[in-house]
C-alpha cells in the first residue's frame, strides 16, 4: 500500500460517465462499424455472464430436486423451497446467522470508531515521532496474516477466550492500519480552521473529534464500516481456529461444516450445499446492491475491500 500514490479523497465519484475515455477510432459509419459494435456487445454480454451466471445458477440449483441439480434446465421439474426448510431443520442455521450478525456488527462498529480515533491523532495533532509512528502503521499492513495466526491464537487462548466469539471481533477495538491510513488521508483534506475555530470557542479535543471530525468524514466512515462488514461476514480462518462448539459457528464456518458432512449436505446432497452457499452469499449481495456507491468509491480509491 505504501507504494501507492496516496488517495487524496474518497469523494470524487469514479462513476462519472463523462469521464470515460473513448479510445475507439472514429471510423465513420457503414457495415464495418456495425459489425464491430456487434462483436463488442457479444463479447461484453459473454464476459458478464461468466461473472454473474454461476451465482444465478447456484440459486437455481438450490431450488431443484436432488436428481436435477446438475441438469442444464434453469428451473427444475419443480421448485423445491423445502431444500431450505430441510437445511434449517438439519443444521442450526439461525444460530449461525445470529452469531455472524453479532460478530459482524460489533467488529465493524469497533473498527470504525477505533480507527477513526487513531486517524484523528495522526491528522490533527502535531507531536514528536508522529511521522515515524505513521510509517510503522503502514509497515504493519505488510504483515502476512498467516504469521500472526498462531501467536494470536495463543493470546486469546491464554485469556481463556478460545471457543468464544470474542477473538472474531474484539481485536477490532484496536483499530486497523488499512482503515487508519484511509481515514487519515480523508481527514487531511478538512481545513484546519474548522478545528481551530472550535478550539477558540472552548471545545475540548474529544469534542473536536466527535462533533467535527466524525460528522465530516461520514462517507469515509461508512466505507470503512461496510468494508469491515464484508471482511467479518466472509471470514472463515478465525472461526476455523477459534470455534469448536457447533452452536458458536458463524455462517461461513457452518457452510464449511455442510461441505464436510454428507449428512447435512456434503458432496452428495448437492442441493443442500447450494442452499447453504446461497444463505451465506445473499446478505452480502443485498448489502452490496444497497450501498453500491460506497463500495465502488472505496474500492477505486483504496484498491481493495477491507484490510
Amino acid at each position: 500500500m505504501a507504494v501507492q500514490p496516496a488517495p487524496r479523497s474518497l469523494v470524487p465519484s469514479v462513476s462519472r460517465p463523462e469521464a470515460v475515455v473513448d479510445t475507439t477510432t472514429p471510423d465513420g459509419f457503414g457495415p464495418g462499424r456495425v459489425m464491430r459494435k456487434a462483436v463488442f456487445v457479444v463479447a461484453l454480454v459473454a464476459v458478464t455472464a461468466l461473472f454473474v451466471y454461476p451465482l444465478i445458477w447456484l440459486l437455481s440449483a438450490s431450488l431443484k430436486p436432488p436428481a436435477e441439480v446438475f441438469s442444464s434446465d434453469f428451473i427444475g421439474s419443480e421448485v423445491r423451497w423445502d431444500n431450505y426448510t430441510r437445511l434449517f431443520q438439519m443444521a442450526p442455521i439461525l444460530t449461525w446467522g445470529w452469531n455472524s450478525l453479532v460478530v459482524t456488527l460489533l467488529g465493524a462498529t469497533a473498527v470504525t470508531f477505533s480507527s477513526a480515533m487513531v486517524a484523528f491523532a495522526f491528522s490533527y495533532f502535531r507531536f514528536r515521532y508522529r511521522d515515524g509512528l505513521f510509517l510503522l502503521v503502514l509497515a504493519t499492513m505488510m504483515l502476512p496474516g498467516a504469521v500472526l495466526m498462531i501467536p494470536q491464537f495463543l493470546i486469546w487462548d491464554g485469556l481463556g477466550l478460545n471457543n468464544t466469539l470474542y477473538p472474531l471481533w474484539a481485536g477490532n477495538l484496536f483499530g486497523s492500519a488499512f482503515y487508519i491510513f484511509m481515514l487519515r488521508q480523508f481527514l487531511l483534506t478538512l481545513p484546519r480552521e474548522l478545528f481551530e475555530a472550535a478550539r477558540v470557542d472552548g471545545a475540548g479535543y474529544f469534542r473536536l473529534w466527535w462533533n467535527i471530525a466524525l460528522p465530516l468524514t461520514r462517507s469515509a466512515l461508512i466505507v470503512v464500516f461496510l468494508f469491515e462488514l464484508k471482511v467479518l461476514w466472509t471470514d472463515l480462518v478465525r472461526p476455523l481456529i477459534f470455534l469448536r462448539d457447533v452452536q458458536l459457528f458463524t455462517l461461513p464456518r457452518g457452510l464449511k461444516a455442510i461441505i464436510d458432512n454428507p449428512a447435512i449436505g456434503g458432496q452428495q446432497q448437492w442441493e443442500l450445499l447450494a442452499a447453504g452457499s446461497v444463505l451465506v452469499t445473499l446478505p452480502m449481495v443485498v448489502l452490496f446492491f444497497i450501498f453500491q456507491r460506497y463500495f465502488t468509491e472505496g474500492i477505486a480509491t483504496t484498491g481493495s475491500t477491507g484490510r
Binding site: V20, V47, L236, V280, T305
Partner: protein, 304 residues
Amino acid sequence: MSANTGLTNQQREFRWAMVFMSPWIVGFLVFMAGPMLWSLWLSFTDYDPLRANTAFVGLDNYRELLVDPEVRTSLWNTVFFTVFYVPGTIASGLALALLLQRVGRAVGFFRTAFYLPNITPAVAVGALFLLLLNGRDGLVNQALRAIGLPGPSWLNDPAWIKPGVILMMLWSVGSTVIIYLAALQNVPRDLYEAAEVDGAGAWHKFRYITLPMISGAIFFTLIINTIASLQLFTEVYAMFFGGQESGAAGQAALFYVIYLFRNAFEFFAMGYASALAWVLFVVIGIITVIQVKTSKRWVYYEGD
C-alpha cells in the same frame, strides 16, 4: 480541562494525541509486535499445546523444513499457482477494463456485475466451484463438452486440480478490473488526441500512452496479487481439507499456508508451524522489496 493547568499547551496536546493513539498502540503491542516476537521464539522450540513440556530446539525446525517433502510439495504448488494466477489476473483484468472502458454510460452496471464474485464469501466460492468443477456433470465440463472438448476431472485428477484452482481464483478478477478502470479514467484525453494527430494507431496508443500511464496501477496489483497468492488458503481449504479425507487432492492442493495451518491447528506442531510462518514472512518481504526496487525501471508516475 482544569486538571491540566500545570501543563504547557504542547504537553497537553501530546497527552491527548496519545489518548487518541492508544487503541492502536495497545493493539500493536498485544496483537502484532508481541505475537511476532512470540512466534519467532516458538519457531526455535518444539511447542505443542497438547504437551506439557516445551524444549528449545535451536534451528531444528528450520533444518527440518528444508528436507520436509510436504514443504517442497506445498512450495511447488504455491509457486505454480502464483506464476499462472498473477499474470493471468493482470492480463485478463486489463483486457476486461479496456472492454468496459468503451461501454460509456452503462459502465456502472457492468462494474457491479464483474465485482459480484469478490463479495461472495470465500467459503461459498469454494462450495460453488465444487459444483461447477464437478468432473461428471459440472457446468464447466458441460460447457467444454458442448464445444467438443473432453472435460477433465478437475477435483480428483492431481494434474487438473491446480488449473481448476487457478480458474476459480480468476473468477474474482473484478477488483483488479475496477482498479484498472479507475486508472484508465485518469489518463488525460489530450494525450490520445495528440497521438491521433501524429497518426498513431490503436496499438501504438495502447502501448505508448495507456500502458505507461496506468503502470502504477499495474504495479500495485502485481504486488497485492502476488502477496495474496502466496497466502492462498480459504477457498482451497474449504474445498479439499478439514473434513473428508482428501486423497490425491491432499498433495496437489496442498498450498503453503494450508500446510502451515494444518501443522498448527490440526497436528498442533506449533513450533514447526511458526518456523513455516517466519519463512513465509521473509519470502513475502523479499518479494515486496524486489518488486518495489525494480518498479522504478518500468513504472511511470506523473510528475516524475
